[in-house]
């Protein structure tokens, strides 16, 4: 059954490409996405009942063929994938995209679902590699002004990283004789620890690259900042594409449980979050601001997953979903804004409230989500991540959240003021409003029904304690006050531009990215091999 979840979008993609015109294909796309979403919901319900659904592709017994597995986590992410692609399809309704766009989008959806459902090492390699190429074509979709150079760097750096993964597959196959993750987990647990160090470091290097953690984060903002890349693609990149890598991170930490180093990734996650926040607040480009903010949230998620506590783990899983929702919303809003004002420079975008109340309210909702305000989904997930952390990590996370609030204030500053002549006045379309509002309402619902949703999606029946909640609100309000003060004296009216310009200019070239991959590999090997 699971095979068809992966193949159906791909077949639909090719059918759309072959047999429909540019006018009808968006309607068909939305209908098809709705059907896929329905089936994904059905899959989740089935998984809740049965616990785990397995598909042996081709009915070959044992481990001869490829095995697909849907557990609660995988089914939740399949649902998220289908839902976000549905929203994005609605958002793109007004644009007349060529057949190629829908072909690639549907293929991308199929591949992401495939990564979530796969239980096979090599299959993941194939899917990830095809997904990389699909993304590379999608970001250079606009022929007029595409940036071939950044696309080339993205594709080549990803290929370099995936070679480490392939090497890792070689060692796993040598040690276990199977390519199935479940069987490999069982066999690896019986092997001496020193045999697992090398494959672990090799595979984690590739996964960490794909998840865009420090020091290999620079490809993500680079790709998302490419002008005229379709808004939907930039949104789904940090909403879903990176999440698939984090999903693999969770899986592989389990596979290599005997050697898996949580300390390493806790530190890396926190550093990623801090660097991401610092980079984000110094940006002036609206999409780059969001891209670096994604880096920060990814760091938070990786850190949360590395805390040895069921609350933090469930909170991180939920944060992956909440982050996907509000970050996609913000990216779509950014796309609408840059269309309205004809620029992506945040200094020139002013007075959104005066011009378009609808978008203004949507921005407020999404920003409340990202800062973790009460009643919004960010609040629930961040609460659970922090509840398992010890004192030092906790204070660092409060600091990171302060940075996120600064990002939100910087974003929110665009709401006020009077629009100058740069305002083009291109009205937003109803379809994109509907898509953005749907996402914002999901953020809100994710906050109100947060605990129920966590139980529904991940089988994590945790409750927030009342006192913890109050404490959280006090910290949050204090953070808001500090954030506003810092904003007033450091950021407002474009102060300190020279300093922030220097931070913005930090950039790795291709050779630098390769060095960072190597450095991560050496550090991971050393930490796992010598220190623990």
């Amino acid at each position: 059954m699971l095979t068809y979840f992966v193949l159906a979008p791909i077949v639909i993609a090719v059918f759309l490409y072959l047999f429909s015109s540019n006018k009808t294909n968006r309607i068909i796309a939305i209908v098809m996405q709705a059907i896929i979403t329905g089936f994904a919901l059905y899959l989740l319900l089935q998984t809740r009942q049965q616990g785990e659904i397995l598909t042996f592709v081709g009915n070959y017994q044992g481990l001869l063929g490829v095995v697909l597995k849907a557990d609660m986590m995988a089914a939740s992410f399949v649902l998220l994938t289908a839902l976000l692609f549905l929203v994005v399809a609605i958002y793109s309704l007004h644009e007349e995209n060529s057949k190629l766009f829908w072909l690639l989008m549907f293929i991308w959806e199929g591949l992401l679902i495939g990564i979530f459902l796969s239980r096979d090492f090599f299959n993941v390699f194939v899917l990830a590699e095809v997904a990389t190429v699909v993304v590379a074509v999608l970001i250079m979709y606009d022929k007029g002004r595409r940036n071939m150079f950044d696309g080339l760097v993205f594709l080549m750096a990803n290929t370099v990283a995936i070679q480490f993964y392939l090497f890792g597959i070689g060692y796993v196959y040598m040690l276990t004789g199977v390519l199935d993750m479940q069987a490999a987990t069982d066999i690896l647990a019986t092997l001496p620890r020193e045999n697992l160090i090398l494959p672990y470091a090799l595979m984690m290097t590739a996964i960490a690259f794909k998840a865009a953690v420090i020091p290999m984060y620079s490809w993500l903002p680079k790709v998302q900042g490419i002008p005229r890349a379709p808004d939907a693609v930039a949104a789904l990149l940090s909403g879903l594409h990176v999440k698939s890598a984090i999903f693999l991170f969770i899986r592989f930490q389990d596979v290599f449980a005997p050697v898996a180093s949580t300390d390493l990734f806790l530190v890396i996650g926190l550093i990623t979050a801090i660097v991401g926040v610092v980079m984000a607040v110094s940006q002036v480009d609206i999409k780059l601001l969001l891209a670096y903010s994604s880096t920060a949230q990814i760091g938070l998620i990786i850190a949360g997953l590395s805390i040895d506590d069921p609350y933090s783990h469930a909170g991180s899983l939920y944060h992956m979903i909440s982050h996907a929702l509000y970050k996609v919303a913000l990216f779509l809003i950014a796309g609408v804004l840059s269309g309205m004002y004809g620029t992506r420079d945040m200094r020139k975008i002013k007075g959104i409230f005066k011009k378009d109340k609808f978008i203004g309210i949507a921005i407020v909702l999404a920003l409340l989500g990202i800062t973790g305000a009460p009643l919004f989904n960010g609040n629930v997930s961040k609460y659970f991540i922090m509840s398992g952390a010890d004192y030092v990590v906790n204070s660092l996370m409060i600091l990171i959240n302060l940075g996120t609030i600064l990002v939100a204030i910087k974003f929110g500053a665009m709401l006020f003021g009077t629009p100058d002549e740069s305002y083009v006045g291109k009205k937003t379309d109803k379809s994109s409003d509907v898509a953005i509002y749907a996402l914002c309402l999901m953020c809100f619902a994710g906050g109100i029904f947060g605990e129920e949703l966590m139980d529904f999606l991940f089988n994590a029946p945790f409750q927030m304690s009342f006192y913890g909640f109050i404490e959280k609100i006090i910290i949050l309000s204090a953070s808001w006050v500090v954030g506003l003060v810092v904003y007033k004296y450091v950021f407002a009216d474009n102060k300190n531009q020279a300093f922030f310009g220097r931070i913005r200019a930090i950039d790795l070239n291709f050779r630098g990215i390769c060095v960072s991959i190597g450095a991560f590999f050496v550090v991971a090997l050393a930490v796992v091999g010598f220190l623990s």
Binding site: V11, G58, L104, M174, L175
Partner: protein, 316 residues
């Protein structure tokens, strides 16, 4: 013997690393791939060797042609042989640092090498079962087309996507190479005569590889590349590029749909297990042949498309 080959391999890799001109680098890359192919043969992997030989031969020829096109432009003399840049201290320091770092990586890698026997769990199972499960005599084809067909579908998808990417991203407009454009490459008469003689052999070889993929090394991919090479040679002799781009793109996708449909109906639905007892061998062979042919056609179309976008460029 094998050790000598491997050392030769390393040396050809080093040649690539020290080379500065693009042309020679492409040639060395071809040599490197050739030696790799021979190593594959030594490792008992003729299927992989065939695949690699066809891929590397194809790409080497095309790289030469493309960069010839670029460098034969007006500033060729300047670009093909760039002046040796002055050796600078900073550059040397950087080089030494990077070299030390690579050596460090390599040493740490070797330090942590797992010390264990190679597990033969799946090898044993495949060797025992493939003949009755899938049919054919080539275990690699059996895995490629039946046990792990799921991967193969995505591999075909990769080719579809890469053809799209090459068509979409190349320097020219979408369908500019439409019809009747003449080649700019001047061939010597000897070359044309050679190609004329070789052409029929190549297509025979390609068809043989596809038709016997389940019995001997080879298969859809390798044969498909050979068939594509035949068409490419034909174009090069007669100097015509009359391939209708849109139609080929469409046909390629239809064949891809065919691959998915056959895969779903025969393997993924599990029908291959319910073949009638007395005709099992026949139906299995039929399936393998059909799949190899479909993949062959798809690969041939795809490679022809790649060739078009690379070589058949319009005049500047």
């Amino acid at each position: 013997m094998t050790l000598a080959l491997l050392l030769l391999w390393v040396v050809s890799g080093l040649l690539i690393l020290q080379e500065r001109t693009v042309f020679r680098m492409v040639i060395y890359l071809g040599v490197f791939s050739l030696i790799t192919t021979i190593i594959f043969l030594f490792q008992g992997a003729p299927d992989v060797a065939l695949a690699n030989a066809s891929v590397s031969g194809f790409s080497t020829i095309f790289l030469i042609v493309c960069f010839e096109k670029y460098y034969s432009a007006k500033d060729s003399a300047k670009k093909t042989k760039p002046n040796m840049p002055k050796v600078r201290l900073a550059g040397v320091c950087r080089g030494v640092a990077v070299l030390l770092f690579s050596v460090l990586m390599c040493v740490m890698f070797i330090h942590f090498l797992p010390d264990s026997e190679v597990s033969t769990y799946l090898k044993h199972q495949y060797a025992t079962l493939f003949y009755s499960d899938v049919g054919g005599e080539n275990a690699v084809t059996a895995i490629y087309l039946a046990y792990r067909l799921y991967d193969t579908v995505f591999e075909a998808l990769m080719l579809v996507v890469s053809v799209i990417a090459v068509v979409h991203l190349s320097f020219f407009d979408e369908m500019s190479v439409s019809s009747g454009r003449q080649s700019e490459i001047r061939h010597s008469a000897t070359a044309i005569r050679t190609i004329r003689v070789v052409c029929p052999i190549i297509i025979l070889f390609g068809v043989y590889l596809i038709a016997n993929g389940h019995l001997s090394p080879g298969g859809g991919f390798q044969g498909g590349v050979a068939v594509a090479v035949f068409f490419v040679c034909r174009f090069m002799i007669f100097n015509i590029y009359d391939l209708p781009v849109g139609t080929v793109l469409k046909d390629e996708k239809i064949v891809f749909l065919g691959i998915i449909l056959v895969a779903v109906f025969v393997i993924f639905l599990g029908i291959h297990q319910y073949f009638p007892y007395q005709h099992t061998a026949l139906l299995q062979t039929l399936y393998l042949l059909m799949m190899n042919t479909l993949i062959g056609v798809k690969v041939a179309l795809g490679f022809m498309m790649l060739f078009y976008r690379y070589v058949a460029v319009d005049r500047q």
